[in-house]
Amino acid sequence: MGNKQTIFTDEQLDAYQDCTFFTRKEILRLHGRYHELAPHLVPLDYTNDPDVKVPLPLIVNMPELKENPFRDQIVQAFSEDGLGNLSFNDFVDMFSVLSEMAPRELKAIYAFKVYDFNVDNFICKEDLEKTLNKLTKEDLTPEEVSLVCEKSIEEADLDGDNKLSFADFENMISRAPDFLSTFHIRI
């Protein structure tokens, strides 16, 4: 290509291309977006792999995430330090999994993490209740919420422990053809 960019080495761009679903151009564009979030924090030269993390409040202000009720959960699912701060690698990873080309299994893994509020590797009734309240913006009455949660767990729970393990979740997702198109953010 024409212009020589100095943000990443070629080796780095190749690595990104192999490990994510983005091409070189898209990685550079993503870097631009990442830099926009915190211009003072994010260096323009990533050739020596700086250890820079953008804090959670800045990330959830992105237009793609701002109005999403699950924005905190999404960012935390991809955050290495567990507090919601994303390094550039995490940032790229997040949008790569949420892109069009990510396979169903990969998306299911991270979707499970998004909906698992208490990080115990199960989606229990409380997790579901929180999900529902975020989805409907507290429009349903508590009885309705409780009823929906119980019925959902009843439907999806295969091994009968009254909460959804990852296997139950994945099994249910595999029957929903719309999952791939809804769990998708364009950047």
Partner: protein, 814 residues
């Protein structure tokens, strides 16, 4: 509740017993023996862990309790207490495989995927609370290695090495695919990749490879680099990326699917145009034939395609039937069997053959692409097991993450809550069978609506039939001299207005009926529209091929005339779409908001718009044979349509209220594009080529009996030139000449393949039900084992707290 323990120290026997679940008592007893051993073996561990118990218990034990048990406890005790699982139980529970996230299947690579799983399972086992990290991401390095002593580290390193080893032994595409699909963080993936590639390069440079293999290796690297740069180029061409993002941000996935479909059709047409342009238009434009008479340019051509355009590259009649030769004066026509006179050398280009093979080739390639896309989409969206989990799916899959505009997000949550309430109402009060009278009333209403629709379609078909005949007679009588007159536009106008008005009529009729669900309503409306369009197109095909082509009488060149007709239809279709967008959306919005004082804007009717596009594309495909430049017209039309529809959408429409199952609908649309649309066009073209006599005085197939004869003659020529190819003529004579055998064979093959596949699908369905039963049984086993485990630990603990456990030892626990 202590059972008599069967002391069975032989591990083989244990395993054997575990494998035969029939003898359940023996299995469970020997397992509990195992647990007993463990308990007796680590008394210290128990005591030490008591200190940690409270922290852990507070932290996550609460979530191990199910509502049923909690209720039971409440019932018994009168206050909700968290069950105290002993820490050893917790330890065992936390190292259960079901705690692991991210299973994956794969024939070739499952082996080292399991290794990655084991690594992660090791790392995710419960450390003490101080070392607990809040990150929910799996990591090879883990949470600070609470359990890592030297032995564990060593084990972890070997597993990682084995993983890297496996990665480096894969092919490049496999490795890339594996790396991308791994649910690890990007930094770890890059490290793995670096290690794998580094090892590979080292092994390459170390070994004494002959120079050609090393050359091959460098060639592969170079090929990969070019492939990456090609991908970057393609992605930079990503057409309308920002526009699509705006649309999806405000309207969601449903409306977006229309625009994505439009873009797909645009790419199809670009492909068609580039092929025909390269192989047909360009050679003919470079060697223009001698024209008989040229008319001047007037504005009407753009609409009718006649006049100036008649004798241009646009239509069939312009193309010569000779072999174009460069650097050569004399030209040979394919129907003559004389050997070449005079010139040898230079490039020669057999126009009729090129025409025949280009058209055939484009149809073939389009067919393959369509069938492949369709089957891929089918695989994604239709599942073969029939179980329902509607509510859970709605909760997890209905939030569209693409929507980013605040008002749309608010609307989306409202939609979801309405949907959930409706579903709840449906589930809670299971509607019993409606009374007979009501059902009869509904059925009769449906029958009435269908008869009205079918009747109107038949009326339109007859109207088109008689009107087309009348218009053609009139044209031949009065305007046979010039090929251009405004009256030619009458038929396209009539057909386009039918296509515009009748769906509205269908909508009105459908509003009278009562449907079970909105998706049934959508399917019914799509099928009615489809019936209309198929019948209208069918009657037009008969008019062109059965009437005009059969006895062209006063027409000099019937193919050009048919090509012009198709051009007219396409242009009229576009004009009417513009009018419809303007009146249907813009003015209707003004009307409804100002006059009717409705708060809601009109809704974008996705199904109708997609069907319109499919209709236009059918016309383009049918016209390809007669008008090689028709894809260019279609390209211009689609680009204008995109911007027009997008602007109209932003200004006039609102987010749809009803849920739209985007992926199923996309599959249906691609199927409709493939089956009635493309197949119909292909059948038309094939019939034309096979059986209809081309014009005598124009076009690349003049003088031949059928268009396909050009291919036959070429094969004969090849055979006379080179006798080795005699088998080709044999194949040709016996298979292609005799269409019945040919069709019969192809149909047989298809049916056999389909039959095998249905059998496979049936078998898989059975396996799915079996596996579901198995999972249920495993769940019961798990429950049983955990309660046994806990019971044993309880027994071995000095004093339990206020729990009364012995009596309530049944499967309602946990």
């Amino acid at each position: 509740m202590a059972r008599s323990v069967n002391f069975n120290p032989d591990s083989h026997h244990l395993e054997a017993e575990m494998e035969s679940p029939i003898d359940e008592a023996a299995v469970h007893d020997s397992f509990s023996h195992l647990i007993e051993e463990q308990v007796q073996g680590f008394p210290n561990a128990l005591e030490m862990d008591q200190l940690e118990l409270d922290d852990e218990a507070r932290d996550d034990v609460g979530y191990l309790v199910n509502p049923v048990m909690r209720q039971e406890e409440c019932h018994q005790q009168g206050d909700p207490h968290i069950e105290h699982w002993s820490s050893a139980t917790l330890r065992i529970l936390s190292s259960m495989p079901s705690r692991t996230i991210g299973r994956s299947r794969g024939a070739i690579i499952s082996q080292y995927y399991n290794r990655t799983m084991q690594l992660r399972r090791r790392r995710q086992s419960r450390p003490s609370i101080r070392d607990f990290s809040h990150s929910s991401r799996p990591s090879i390095r883990g949470y600070g290695g609470v359990e890592s002593d030297l032995g564990d580290l060593h084990e972890e390193e070997t597993k990682r090495e084995r993983l890297v080893n496996n990665l480096q032994n894969l092919s490049v595409s496999d490795r890339v695919r594996m790396l991308r699909a791994m649910p690890l963080s990007v930094s770890e993936k890059t490290e793995l990749r670096h290690l794998a590639l580094w090892h590979k390069e080292r092994s390459f440079s170390r070994s004494n490879i002959p120079c050609c293999s090393q050359f091959k290796y460098y060639l592969i690297i170079a090929a990969r680099q070019t492939w990456y740069s090609w991908l970057s180029l393609l992605s930079s061409l990503q057409l309308w990326q920002t526009a699509l993002k705006t649309v999806s941000g405000r309207f969601g996935t449903g409306v977006l699917s229309y625009f994505v479909f439009l873009r797909t059709l645009l790419f199809f047409n670009i492909f068609l145009f580039s092929v025909t342009g390269l192989f047909l238009v360009l050679p003919q434009a470079v060697f223009p034939p001698v024209l008989s008479n040229t008319t001047g340019l007037s504005g009407l051509e753009l609409l009718t395609g006649g006049g100036y355009f008649t004798e241009s590259v646009m239509f069939y009649g312009y193309y010569t039937n000779v072999t174009l030769k460069k650097d050569c004066v004399s030209k040979e026509s394919i129907s003559s069997t004389l050997s070449e006179v005079g010139c040898h050398g230079g490039l020669s280009y057999n126009m009729p053959l090129a025409y025949f093979f280009t058209i055939g080739g484009t149809f073939f390639v389009t067919c393959i692409i369509l069938v492949y896309t369709m089957s891929k989409l089918f695989g994604q969206s239709f599942r073969i097991d029939k179980s329902q989990s509607i509510l859970a799916m709605k909760v997890f899959c209905s939030w569209d993450f693409k929507v980013i505009k605040k008002t749309s997000v608010k609307l989306q949550s409202e939609n979801i809550s309405t949907l959930l309430k409706e579903l709840l109402a449906e589930i809670s009060h299971k509607k019993g069978e409606a009374p007979i009278r009501q059902r009869l009333g509904r059925i009769s209403m449906h029958l009435l609506a269908w008869s009205m629709c079918v009747g109107s379609i038949l009326a339109c078909v007859f109207a088109v039939y008689y009107f087309s005949e009348y218009m053609y007679e009139e044209f031949r009588a009065k305007y046979s001299k010039s090929s251009d007159s405004p009256s030619l536009l009458a038929l396209p106008v009539v057909v386009s207005s039918i296509n515009l008005l009748l769906p509205g009529f269908f909508n009105i009729v459908a509003s009278m009926e009562k449907y079970d669900s909105p998706s049934v309503r959508t399917y019914v409306s799509i099928s009615r529209n489809l019936m209309l369009k198929v019948s209208v197109l069918g009657i037009l095909c008969y008019h062109w091929l059965g009437r005009i082509a059969a006895n062209p009488q006063s027409l000099v060149c019937w193919e050009t005339f048919v090509g012009q007709e198709l051009y007219r239809f396409l242009v009229m279709d576009f004009i009417f779409t513009v009018l419809d967008t303007f009146f249907g959306e813009f003015l209707w919005r003004l009307f409804s908001q100002k006059l009717l004082k409705r708060r809601r804007k009109p809704v974008f009717d996705i199904a109708r718009n997609v069907l319109e596009m499919i209709y236009g594309q059918t016309l383009a495909w049918m016209g390809l044979l007669f008008t090689p430049l028709l894809p260019a017209v279609q390209i211009i039309k689609l680009i204008c349509l995109f911007y027009m529809k997008k602007t109209s959408l932003m200004m006039n429409c609102q987010v749809p209220r009803k849920p739209w199952r985007a992926s199923q609908m996309t599959t249906i649309f691609i199927t409709l594009l493939c089956f009635p649309s493309f197949l119909g066009a292909a059948v038309c073209v094939t019939c034309t080529m096979w059986s209809i006599k081309p014009s005598q005085s124009c076009g690349p197939f003049r003088g031949l009996q059928t268009m396909i004869q050009s291919g036959k003659l070429w094969v004969k020529q090849l055979e006379s030139a080179n006798s080795n190819l005699a088998w080709l003529t044999w194949v040709h004579t016996y298979l292609v000449e005799n269409p019945v055998i040919f069709l019969f064979l192809t149909a047989m093959i298809f049916f056999i393949v389909i039959y095998f596949h249905t059998q496979v699908v049936d078998g898989q369905r059975k396996i799915i039900t079996l596996l579901q039963h198995q999972i249920e049984n495993e769940g019961k086993d798990k429950k049983f084992l955990i309660t046994k485990l806990q019971a044993i630990h309880e027994q071995s603990r000095p004093l339990s707290s206020q729990r009364i456990r012995g009596t309530s030892e049944d499967s309602s626990y946990y």
